[in-house]
């Protein structure tokens, strides 16, 4: 071992809402040797560019802007005197938890960590990943990049805008661009439903008379130097464009809000196993990955709709990392959680249910694969139904959750658990 390695008990990668909540919880649980690394110059992550309100309704019972929400955690972290190093990019994490980082102030640093919390967040799916045909001019931006340009740099990316995808950032940016005087021609969504929150469809599109074209997509991009227009077409049930429905929209800007991808390149370098459904790590109910002492939380684990839930999940991960560092773990039996009919990407994928003590309630989070009205979420083992609860609506735009109490967990200990959406209540 080289003598320039920096020993640390807990290293948190990312000082967005996930990393901050995790670090705060770990410190409160007694972890003193703790470093948080953040690549941006400011703490707070993507919240800093989310200057609209609507954050914190669940956690603080207040309606905050993104920066206000972030500031609460930043203040608490400061009060706890957390060692948060901004402008520091993590380059590599090994399975032995050697974490290499670089910053302008300190150069290359290699930390030898006993535990690591992955809180890198997610990135936007770019145009290239969709393989939208056409030319490749300036003027095609991911919605988050446009948001950064407008809200952080103070510049407009264009004046006549089409938005592809109705994810929340796209909806928020439709309103933001309209407020700033741009003409927002349409928000085009491939699916027959929006993947954004309902409140955003109302407040960001309907209130500004911006049409939402469901079951439509952009089939061609025009313009050599700057975007001059897009061709929009309706799609059939197979999501393939319907010939004859093409419509040309002259515009100088196309914003893409077509999905978020958990950013797990570092996780992969650490040997962390990913779930194809969430594209985030496979974790147990303590948010621990397959690599002992490596935890994951927030949007790097699975993409959330609300930051409030990111904070809550991450605090649990921080507590779990502290427990890992500070104490012995009780013996447990492992249960595997599977996505059943109608369900995608249930997290956690594994439940380590203690043998000799009462398990704590676990919340399973998942997304439905389409819209379901008046259906039931049913959780079962091969032998029995653990619960079957009726819900008014399931929509892919809103993460669903179901709680398993101690008694159910004891029933499920060591067994395969399936989460599914069923029309009828199961008994």
């Amino acid at each position: 071992m080289r003598d320039d390695r920096i020993p640390v008990d807990l290293l948190v990668v990312g000082a967005g809402p996930a990393g901050l909540a995790a670090a705060i919880a770990a410190r409160k649980a007694g972890v003193t040797s703790l470093v948080v690394l953040e690549r941006e110059d400011e703490q707070g992550g993507i919240l800093n560019q989310c200057i609209h309100n609507g954050f914190g309704l669940h956690r603080f019972r207040e309606e905050l802007t993104g920066p206000e929400y972030a500031q609460r955690d930043i203040d608490e972290a400061q009060a706890l005197e957390l060692d948060i190093r901004t402008g520091t990019t993590v380059l590599d994490i090994t399975p032995d938890k050697l974490v290499t980082a670089v910053s302008r102030e300190r150069g290359i640093q290699v930390f030898e960590a006993k535990a690591v919390i992955l809180a890198m967040g997610c990135r936007e799916r770019p145009r290239g990943a969709l393989a939208i045909p056409g030319s490749r001019p300036a003027g095609v931006f991911s919605a988050g990049t446009a948001q950064k340009l407008v809200n952080m740099a103070g510049y407009m990316p264009g004046k006549r805008v089409v938005i592809l995808g109705s994810g929340d950032i796209g909806l928020i940016m439709a309103r933001r661009m309209a407020l700033q005087g741009a003409q927002v021609l349409a928000c085009v969504e491939l699916m027959p439903y929006s993947s954004g929150l309902n409140r955003n469809i109302v407040q960001c599109l309907q209130d500004y008379d911006i049409p939402l074209l469901l079951s439509h997509t952009v089939v061609d991009i025009h313009g050599r130097e700057r975007l001059s227009g897009v061709t929009v077409a309706a799609v059939g049930e197979d999501r393939q464009p319907l010939p004859g429905t093409e419509k040309y929209l002259a515009c100088d800007t196309l914003l893409l809000s077509v999905g978020l991808i958990p950013e797990n390149e570092l996780s992969l370098s650490a040997g962390v196993q990913l779930s194809p459904a969430t594209q985030g790590p496979v974790v147990n109910n303590l948010f621990e990955t397959n690599i002992k002492g490596v935890f994951a939380c927030g949007n790097v684990l699975h993409v959330h709709d609300l930051v409030d839930y990111v904070s809550r999940e991450s605090a649990q991960a921080g507590q779990a990392a502290a427990d890992y560092l500070l104490g012995a773990r009780p013996c447990f039996l492992r249960s595997r959680v599977c996505d059943g009919q109608g369900v995608r990407g249930t997290v956690p994928q594994l439940l380590d249910i203690p043998c000799e003590q009462t398990p704590e309630t676990v919340e399973l989070m998942f997304r439905p694969d389409r819209v379901y009205q008046n259906h039931h979420v049913t959780v079962r083992t091969p032998e029995e139904v653990l619960l079957s609860q009726r819900r008014m609506i399931f929509t892919p735009g809103e993460m669903a959750e179901v709680k398993l109490g101690p008694a159910m967990l004891e029933q499920a200990r060591g067994k395969t658990i399936t989460v599914e959406i069923t029309k009828e209540k199961q008994a």
Partner: protein, 483 residues
């Protein structure tokens, strides 16, 4: 009055300029694009073909084999990525055997060394991810990979360091020989030169036909590609071709020098050489054919799609040398489609020498040898990174997270002899924005650095020069910079 004006700043034009940098003379490269390597040189397969494919006896065959043999040593002093990867041509049916044997013998006739026909087992042991239905393959160990745009940019830098001027964003509308000199008409005025070298790719036919009694006919042949994210370990180590059949030429699956995977190209004859769109059908076609080679290809790994247009001359061969049927002092490289990249070192040296000899230009006494491109931060080990940071703390600042490009590298890209002036310019010089997020995170930072280095406001920054503006104007205080 220039001694020599080279028209076209692609790999051919820049290879000629690089050669002419060794001679004392007033030389310029002119291109309508706002950067070098903006056409087919940045949008091709990046393969140094061994030379088994081009028909024996053609210029293509001669220059391909010659250039390919030169390439490794050519790249070394420039610091350009070159990988001796090898290649395979796959046969899936018994009737492909004759095709592969013919390629083998054509390779022998062209002087390509090391080729052999191998059976399924050996093929699959060398490249385990290939379609197991493969029957046999031609193994081509002499095939290699080169980064085509990095090569072109490095050639341009060295030429510029030796006094070659680059006149970018300048279209030659008319080429004519008057009063004993070549006149190049541009929107900004007329340039004169004692000799011209037409390396204008898709536009070369137009210029040739303005000065020669013997007409040529350039057909733009579009090639569409998928680019996939890098994988560790690499999915394939070699370039994998498919044996041409009655159904067409097939597509290749190849790693790039940076470890990405490239699928393509299509071959579609189109009217406009500047039209580099991708199409739904074209991309579908690439994917279907690529799946024959690599059934496990995953679209989740796709970073981007793009297309480039090869300049195919109707006669099918390269036309290299003094322009036939034109006044003296005009030289050309026409129809430089594949294997034009492989042939570039040979074409550059031959055409450069030919023009210098015509003008009797002496070799320069104070020739500046090329400065090799520094190793990329992403490719450095820990000690190299520490050393780089010691010299320049801007190495401590990561601008592009996907490709781990530092601020030091972005600034250097802008300060190079032929420096970046746009986001794409930075991208092709540093890879910032070339990764999986496609500049979503780094574009604002790169724009800020560009504005600082170029001394302009943010709205002055473009994607690729010209009217490819990124911002329509400012908000509030920044509004005074509105477009």
């Amino acid at each position: 009055m220039y001694d020599i004006v080279i028209i076209g700043a692609g790999v051919t034009g820049c290879a000629v300029a690089y050669r002419l940098g060794q001679y004392a003379g007033r030389v310029a490269v002119i291109d309508q694009a706002h950067d070098v390597s903006a056409g087919a040189s940045k949008a091709n397969s990046g393969i140094v073909h061994a030379g088994y494919d081009a028909k024996a006896g053609t210029q293509k065959a001669r220059l391909n084999v010659k250039g390919a043999l030169m390439m490794e040593e050519y790249c070394r002093p420039l610091g350009v990525p070159y990988v001796r990867s090898g290649a395979m041509v796959l046969g899936f049916h018994e009737e492909d055997r004759a095709t592969l044997e013919a390629l083998y013998h054509n390779g022998l006739a062209n002087g390509v060394k090391g080729c052999r026909l191998i059976g399924r087992e050996e093929v699959l042991s060398m490249e385990p991810r290939l379609n197991p239905q493969v029957l046999l393959a031609l193994d081509v160990p002499a095939s290699a990979l080169v980064s085509p745009y990095e090569l072109t940019l490095a050639l341009a830098d060295s030429a510029a360091e030796n006094g070659v001027q680059f006149l970018l964003g300048t279209r030659v509308t008319q080429l004519a020989y008057q009063q004993g000199a070549w006149q190049l008409t541009t929107p900004g005025g007329v340039l004169t030169a004692r000799a011209v070298i037409n390396c204008a790719g898709g536009d070369a036919g137009r210029l040739h036909n303005q000065i020669s009694t013997r007409q040529v006919h350039i057909i733009a042949r579009r090639g569409q590609y998928y680019l996939l994210d890098h994988n560790k370990p690499a999915l394939f180590t070699r370039t994998i071709f498919q044996a041409p059949t009655k159904m067409g030429k097939g597509v290749l699956v190849t790693p790039t020098t940076h470890g990405n995977l490239l699928l393509g190209p299509t071959a579609e004859d189109i009217d406009d050489c500047a039209d580099t769109i991708t199409t739904r059908d074209g991309l579908k076609n690439v994917l279907e054919k690529a799946r024959l080679t690599f059934p496990g290809v995953s679209l989740r790994r796709v970073i981007t799609t793009f297309s480039g247009n090869r300049a195919h001359e109707a006669g099918g061969d390269f036309i290299i040398g003094a322009v036939e049927g034109a006044p003296e002092g005009a030289f050309e490289a026409i129809g430089i489609e594949s294997p034009g990249l492989s042939a570039a070192p040979a074409i550059g040296d031959e055409l450069g020498d030919l023009a210098a000899l015509f003008l009797n230009l002496p070799k320069k006494a104070d020739y500046i040898a090329p400065t090799p491109l520094p190793k990329a931060f992403s490719a450095m080990d820990e000690d190299e990174r520490r050393a780089a940071y010691q010299k320049d703390p801007d190495y401590g600042r990561i601008v592009c997270r996907c490709e781990q490009v530092t601020e030091a590298e972005v600034r250097r890209a802008i300060r190079r002899p032929v420096g970046a002036t746009s986001l794409d310019g930075v991208k092709f010089r540093t890879r910032a924005g070339m990764g999986r997020c496609q500049s979503g995170f780094c574009s604002t930072r790169v724009m800020e650095i560009l504005a600082e280095e170029l001394g302009c406001e943010l709205p002055g920054i473009t994607k690729s020069g010209g009217k490819s503006w990124m911002l329509s104007g400012g908000i509030g205080k920044a509004d005074q910079n509105a477009r």
